[in-house]
Symmetry: C3
């Protein structure tokens, strides 16, 4: 099994996900050769700075023996600065490396890049589009906690612009016994394209503004940041701000077996007191990003023993 | 044969160029040990961001097993920020690494750096001065297409500020059967110092504003970007803008055996339709940058088997 | 002997310093295995750009076979940009690497980071606080010149904000036969917390504004930059500016056996003519930074053979 590019969560099926999970488990258990990608070079081409995501990819590559060329200022030398198109940039950079990790402010940028690149493109976030490797680490984290694949996920916060939510929803849609509750202000509810996809896949989901009512039934509480700047009317923002905060009181409503996840960074939407609760697994989730990205790299380079 | 520093195209003669070409050919054919520079460290010290050039050097170094310490914000910690001289910066950084790749806005900066450095300095562009490693990859690309070394090169666009043109002209001047046509607006014609050098070397060249007339006789059409901002009078710019565009129509005038080159990035001076023509070799040219820079690094570290 | 974190110069005693010196000497003599840290990853997390210090750490790590993930723009993705706390950043980044080198504008930041990190934190400068690895390289340089540990050090310039002076003073305080002369304008004299520490340790020191009088008795003249911007009144600045310059005339007052040090970068407080004097050892001092940081890394990873 070989992946060519990683552009969208929609390109994955259950079979390949199961292989990724198995491989990630092996890596997490220390069963991998740490020079599998010796001699390979990753270019991290970030048009928006995101040290967190970049570090995660670069660490994964180097833990496999690969090497890295890196920029978090790609915007300064390309179209923005001298008028070069993304297509040209990709056609040059792809001759300097063996895989390109692309973060770009425009939705669809990775799809375009993949049409021009002779090496694999990994979408590390394209505008309000997708963030498929985040979704892979998220669903891996979920299944590492819930073996039977029958559970209810609540996704909370900014579901409109949150590309991690878009990507994760598409992966969850592959599993028939998963129920999803989308909790957000109406102004920040899921975009139509994702809704249409979930309906087409017959996903059992509901959208609501009511945070409290579902707390006692969810198995996974997936929190995201509500971005103040998205609201035209600050009073509208204040109506929701505070309703969606996960604090000690919210913990008291949650199942003992539930888990709390967050793609991070968080600001105030999960209070620090929650960190100490064993149900808070967002830092473990971040750590899984290394292991699952190592698995994806091994698959892209056809180095996975599965 | 050992190079000490790479500062100017003028330091090369035909004998060393032939060795570089032979070595680059070997590398391109995969015949090199990819840990020849194991344990060596390259510092890329860029006072102007140029991800493209930086990536090319860092990839070349790492493909040879070397390692990299890197900055594209050198200006922020040196003279500009705290008042340190380039001399001092070099005397400190040269104790952290085994080779320094320097990009600097001031003409002559690499020459100065080489006087203070105990490790090799590679000039990766100094203001309006030179860009010798670009010239090496350019002339390697030309000779990989034209074996007999008898041909006509047209260099088009901004010949005044274009340091790649200055450096490439000096290398071409080493070959007696090469003719050069310099095509540019008068305001952007070759600087006197380069003209004098070519005359001293008895190069057969002509300068003109007439783009069309020479199209049918040139073997290499070397296009560069005309920079709008160089013109005081925008009407002057508009007079030339459009005259020097390589498009499908221009292709129809070119020899079947001609090639089109460009140091990149390009903006609009070569239209995208040209990319599909087999005579368009600018992306192959960019790729040759890796191989020829690997060759130069092997020579600097006296690791070339020639 | 294993270090856990490197936060403050005050955490070191003479016994561990002696081991660091011995190890640094071994490394300087080329007696180390250059893959001792193979498979380990260093994250350099710089909230203020400092290419010099970052390069020094990254070179040290790579000379030991380790790898690096690096940012000099950490401020752009953390609290400053999206409102994330340093605590959260550390808890995420520590799962991507094996050691974190932190440069932060806030005094005490490394101490806080060490409380949340599961991997070692190295303080690479925290505001006006400390810069312990600079102090280690400084004192190593001093003892490499003065074997008997009985000498007089003059520290000159901005002693108030200069964190290298604070850290070095604390290390010198461990040696009973060291005398210190603090020479600065009153407005830039040593902060009370450092003074109190020196008094508690019974250090033989004096503070003065008189530069000339002590020149003939000092063994080490440790110069630092006087920062114009610290003075409210420019006339106050001009009173001292010029008094503390080390130039050819100052050289004539110094002992033949004295040495001149500077943490660098320097601006005008040491004139270039001084560089040629054999007593000027500031570039050798900078070079020692690589060796002593390699020693510290080996100790942190428990890889030192002592």
């Amino acid at each position: 099994m070989k992946l060519k590019h990683i552009i969208s969560a929609r390109q994955f099926d259950r079979k390949i996900l199961e292989k990724i999970f198995a491989l990630t488990n092996q890596i997490k258990a220390g069963k991998y050769k740490n020079d599998a990608l010796y001699g390979k070079i990753m270019a991290t081409l970030f048009y928006e700075p995101s040290t967190r995501t970049r570090f995660s990819f670069e660490s994964a590559m180097q833990r496999l023996g690969g090497r890295v060329i890196s920029t978090e200022n790609a915007g300064e030398f390309s179209s923005a600065a001298k008028g070069e198109t993304l297509e040209d940039t990709i056609r040059v950079v792809n001759s300097y490396c063996d895989v390109i990790v692309l973060r770009h402010p425009k939705t669809g940028a990775s799809e375009i890049a993949s049409q021009y690149s002779q090496v694999p493109i990994i979408n590390a976030g394209d505008g309000e589009g997708e963030h498929p490797t985040q979704a892979i680490l998220d669903i891996y984290t979920i299944f590492s906690k819930f073996n039977k694949k029958t559970f209810t996920v609540a996704m909370v916060g900014d579901l409109k612009y949150g590309r991690t939510v878009h990507s994760l929803s598409c992966l969850l849609a592959l599993y028939p016994n998963v129920k999803i509750v989308f909790i957000s202000p109406k102004a920040l509810s899921l975009p139509k394209s994702v809704l249409d996809h979930l309906r087409k896949k017959h996903v059992d989901f509901v959208g609501t503004e009511d945070f409290r009512s579902y707390l006692s039934v969810v198995d996974i509480l997936y929190q995201t940041r509500i971005q103040k700047e998205r609201f035209g009317d600050i009073r509208e923002y204040r109506k929701y701000y505070g309703k969606f905060i996960i604090d000690k009181k919210v913990l008291s409503f949650l199942k003992k077996t539930a888990v709390i996840m967050h793609p991070l960074p968080r600001v105030n939407e999960i209070t620090p007191e929650v960190d100490l609760d064993p149900r808070a697994i967002y830092f473990e989730q971040a750590q899984n990003g290394i292991f699952s990205r190592m698995a994806l790299l091994l698959l892209l380079f056809d180095k996975a023993k599965l």
